[in-house]
Symmetry: C2
Subunit: 349 residues, 2 copies
Amino acid sequence: MSKQPKVPISAALASYRKPTLKTIAELSGLAVPTVSRALKDAPDINSETKKLVRKVATEIGYVPHPAGVRLRTGRTFVISLVLSTSNEMMTHAARLMAAMVKELRGTPYHLIITPFFPDEDPMTPVRYVVETGAADALILNETTPDDARVKYLLERGFPFATHGRSRYCEQHPYFDYDNLSFGRIAVEALVQKKRRFIWMLAPPPQHNYALNMIEGAKTACTNQGLTLYVSEAINSEQSIEEVTQKVTELLKNEPQLDAFICASTNAAIGVTAALEALGKTIGVDMDIVAKEAIPFLKLFRPRMLIMQEDVTAAGTWLCQAVLQAIEHPERAPLQNLEIPQFAELEKQL
Amino acid sequence: MSKQPKVPISAALASYRKPTLKTIAELSGLAVPTVSRALKDAPDINSETKKLVRKVATEIGYVPHPAGVRLRTGRTFVISLVLSTSNEMMTHAARLMAAMVKELRGTPYHLIITPFFPDEDPMTPVRYVVETGAADALILNETTPDDARVKYLLERGFPFATHGRSRYCEQHPYFDYDNLSFGRIAVEALVQKKRRFIWMLAPPPQHNYALNMIEGAKTACTNQGLTLYVSEAINSEQSIEEVTQKVTELLKNEPQLDAFICASTNAAIGVTAALEALGKTIGVDMDIVAKEAIPFLKLFRPRMLIMQEDVTAAGTWLCQAVLQAIEHPERAPLQNLEIPQFAELEKQL
DNA sequence: CATTTTTCCTAAAACGATTTAGATTAAATC
DNA sequence: GATTTAATCTAAATCGTTTTAGGAAAAATG
């Protein structure tokens, strides 16, 4: 009863070319649109026909040509991760990517890295992707409190998710860490170690998470009757060498300092290098609280107080969020997630 | 004398849609193919016409639609970097990517990461890219001595370059490090420190560079009347924790060991953790030679002997190589490059 | 038996770019 | 002045897919 291919498949394979819908159509004696509709299980195609088409398709290894699909439908099956090319790309972004790539495995989607450079407008790559339809969804990193990219994407109704919050964050999926608590817990940890003069190496203040972190630490300091020292000039995005040099300078002028809060691996290493060059020992003369994405500092200097950010979880979650946004935009936007990962630090106290 | 647009541009912009060749054609009163040929500076188009077309194009911000171009020409303007999702992706691959992204800036090309998973055939992603035309060129990482991917790409005539050599490497552009020398110099450095029992944590032996490295070290050991200890079971691609655990075990059985050669940052950290847990001090009880992509170990333990691999240079060079292969395949293949980066290590001796 | 409905398929157009072949006009040649 | 040549443009086809509209045959209805 089952329908038969019109042309033997070996004949089609003899002169090799990448199979298209046309190939299947010729082999099965059907029209191209019929094949197309059969493959996507449309209701107006006979089930015997569908079976035949699917059989031929798998037999000759048919894969839809992305350019054809994209031209006709606008779909690219690409997720774009927007990353700054600054040094952060080296560490936490790599983990993020690895998690996303794993999450996308088995789906038709690919991950593409859309870089932007410190000297150019962060809007440029975002506009490019939206206007050319280079991707089906965007994932933004390192949001600012009043992020123009987020505003733009919301206005355009383009699917996206952010790693970090902004003032618009109630309106879209995001993944963020509770940096307010990080600031607070870091200070409390240091106070418990009898430290009184705390300097914070925060991220540059344009980033939303920098503000949270600083606010948390400041409030905690005020509650303890302390002052938090923090300066834009020494920040956690600088290179190890830069931090080392600046902290060395700093300690000459402010010898009373006895604690540092570091927002990155680089910063923690830089501070350590400066301290040790001055003959100071971590955990004895000074204490350092640090936050990092890759579990490394604990091995570097075991007496550091470490908080881990689970970037892998972020990558996984963000991927799921944008896939949802692409394929089921009608569903309520995904819950905004917020994971405090301070158990470790609190245990260390 | 200069030709004028037929329709005022404001009119076209009023109802916003992404401009195409058709938009330019309507505005300038020309046919679509004429516009296309004018934009690519074809010889049979009047220079006045070209001027007009170019003016209109920039004015309305025309950008060719990638799907249109790809469908017609097969060109994607994508370079695919094939990466294993194993832990190496975290460190050296991130640098590689950053360098490539910077190198591609200003060109029409994009970088896409094509992952492959340890449990799948490395051929899969390569075949996929070639057969679907997902990219214009490939960059392979971590070659094996008899790399099936390289063989396949050579047979197909698909543009590519490799990071690492193989038996086919005379036939295509590659970037590699002189690991033979690394092995030799590492041993010589340790001998000079009066070490006699050297264990090497090499990469898994399927990798070409592992073989070079081991051979270099073995030959040097033989020349010095020593034996090189090396085992597949403890390799440089394992996690820090795994290395620590295995080396701890190892030192119980082989207490005479007084030196390690580590082929990765992870391995060096893992070995350090194991040694220090046993109360041994680097540079005193033991010596470690290590090779890494990110200048980090020197800060971690200053007495380690470090060799840097310039992965940034690799990324830059590989990009240039594949662009050349795409755009001027007729030119003699780029010189195969080989950079020994041992000056630092030799200085340390 | 004539008519309507259902089922299942095809034809044609469209997405945006490029290429091949051909057409028109002007300039050059005899 | 007729013919060739050069210069410059247009028409049509194509890449692979999807969508809309419509058509033919079979089945159901009166």
